[in-house]
């Protein structure tokens, strides 16, 4: 599991710079109302302190939405800081991003770091 220790912070920073320049991962906002026009299949439910599904494969350009169904706040944070982190999501709050470049993106809940998940982005 990759973690953000000082050794790979530099790499994370490089990734962040790359991302900023090339827009490999675009964002549709931090928290928003239910998007009825979005790709409903790309929903990750946070329940019982777990991301479900834990691994989600999406096409580049598709939206991904997390929704918190727990009575406990959770966050969505990229392990390698490849996308902007969510703020703390209270019960029934959502967080949406748009998948960018193909690749594997691991993330976790920074409040309960045992909770981890993976987004696999494939070519559209």
């Amino acid at each position: 599991m990759n973690t953000l220790n000082p050794r790979n912070k530099k790499m994370a920073l490089l990734c962040a710079i790359t991302f900023l320049n090339l827009s490999i991962f675009a964002f549709a906002g931090e928290m928003k109302e239910v998007d009825t026009t979005g790709n409903k299949q790309n929903r990750i439910e946070i329940k019982d302190f777990a991301f479900n599904p834990q691994t989600l494969t999406v096409k580049s350009g598709e939206k991904i939405t997390w929704i918190n169904r727990d009575e406990e706040p959770h966050t969505v944070v990229s392990v390698e800081k490849q996308f902007k982190k969510s703020t703390a999501l209270d019960t029934d709050q959502e967080f949406t991003i748009t998948a960018g470049a193909p690749g594997t993106y691991t993330y976790f809940c920074s409040v309960h770091p045992k909770m981890t998940g993976t987004i696999v982005v494939v070519k559209s």
């Binding site: 019982d48 727990d70 406990e72 706040p73 703390a88 976790f108 920074s110 770091p113 045992k114 981890t116």
Partner: protein
């Protein structure tokens, strides 16, 4: 006191099976004490009948934890009211505590208005001195900036908010283990804080009683639920030479205790809602109990130190 000792194999007053079942006791209105390695317990009713305060000691302080102001789900729709009850209990103590320790999760969502409510309600507490450490709920979106601005005014905090102080010959250490958590990991102290800790205790005599407090347990309670601190072993290593170390934590909303050599680990009840015993539910989320049972699963922890005694007496009482 012997009411609850059913297995005393070594005739030392310690019921080891009962000790392991202390989880269950938390809900039964018991005060329990471990002093000098001897476990004793008394029901609240017994204390009330005796009509006397606990014995006078050289230092008495109180731990309050996990108030979660702002939480409003089924497990407790009015956490402000139960927090107020806890304060009323403190105000009613025959001997007021010298100070309070709050072991984190003051708020549910780190919102300024939640901190405001906490501060407003707290004004009714007769005991004004409080020493805080943050819970993960207090540092959600700003890395603890607001928390530090409000709750570290009376201490000389270092780094992300850790500090130490002395009272009546006891050395107190408040640690922060809820920041910069790593994916897949547990609570974390980090190198900078650990180096500070090593230096902080360097000049102390081994006979100095040590009290360490932090939000997430500094012993591995249940790693599957993140109930532990990844680098706590290193911290405890620096404290190994001391004759009396008391570790007070919150986070898990239930009383658990472990004695390991000279170190007594203890977790406190919340004033907001209970959480399930390790591994007994799909997740550690808030536990719903019948309304009439809720207050028996919320509570406070009183700690007393008497000069010349090695172990501090740690006594839990619920809010029923």
């Amino acid at each position: 006191m012997s009411d609850y000792i059913s297995h005393d194999h070594e005739h030392d007053g310690i019921d080891r099976r009962g000790f392991l079942q202390c989880m269950a006791w938390a809900g039964t209105g018991l005060l329990w004490t471990i002093s000098g390695g001897v476990l004793v317990s008394r029901t609240l009713a017994q204390i009330a009948k005796a009509g006397a305060p606990l014995p006078a000691t050289d230092l008495s302080f109180l731990q309050i934890s996990d108030s979660h102001i702002g939480f409003n789900k089924d497990a407790n729709k009015d956490v402000t009211a139960t927090f107020q009850i806890a304060l009323d209990r403190i105000n009613a103590m025959p001997t007021p505590p010298a100070f309070l320790i709050h072991t984190g999760d003051i708020t549910q969502l780190s919102k300024p208005e939640e901190f405001d409510t906490f501060d407003q309600v707290f004004k009714s507490c007769r005991t004004k001195d409080v020493f805080y450490v943050p819970g993960e709920h207090d540092v959600l979106n700003d890395g603890g900036k607001l928390y530090r601005e409000r709750y570290l005014k009376s201490v000389e905090a270092k780094g992300s908010g850790w500090y130490s102080f002395n009272k009546n010959g006891v050395h107190f250490i408040g640690l922060v283990n809820v920041l910069d958590l790593q994916a897949g990991g547990l609570g974390q102290l980090g190198d900078e804080q650990l180096e500070w800790l090593e230096d902080d205790v360097k000049g102390l005599g081994a006979d100095t009683p040590i009290v360490v407090f932090a939000h997430i347990p500094l012993w591995t309670v249940y790693p599957d639920w993140g109930w532990g601190t990844s680098d706590s072993e290193r911290a405890l290593g620096y404290l190994k030479r001391f004759g009396s170390v008391t570790v007070l934590n919150g986070h898990i909303h239930q009383v658990l205790q472990k004695v390991e050599g000279n170190v007594t680990f203890h977790t406190a009840m919340s004033t907001a809602f209970p959480q399930p015993a390790p591994g007994t539910a799909p997740s550690p989320g808030p536990m719903k109990v019948p309304a009439e049972k809720l207050r028996s699963m919320l509570g406070l922890t009183s700690v007393q130190y008497k000069q010349g005694k090695t172990a501090l007496a740690v006594v839990d009482s619920n809010l029923s």
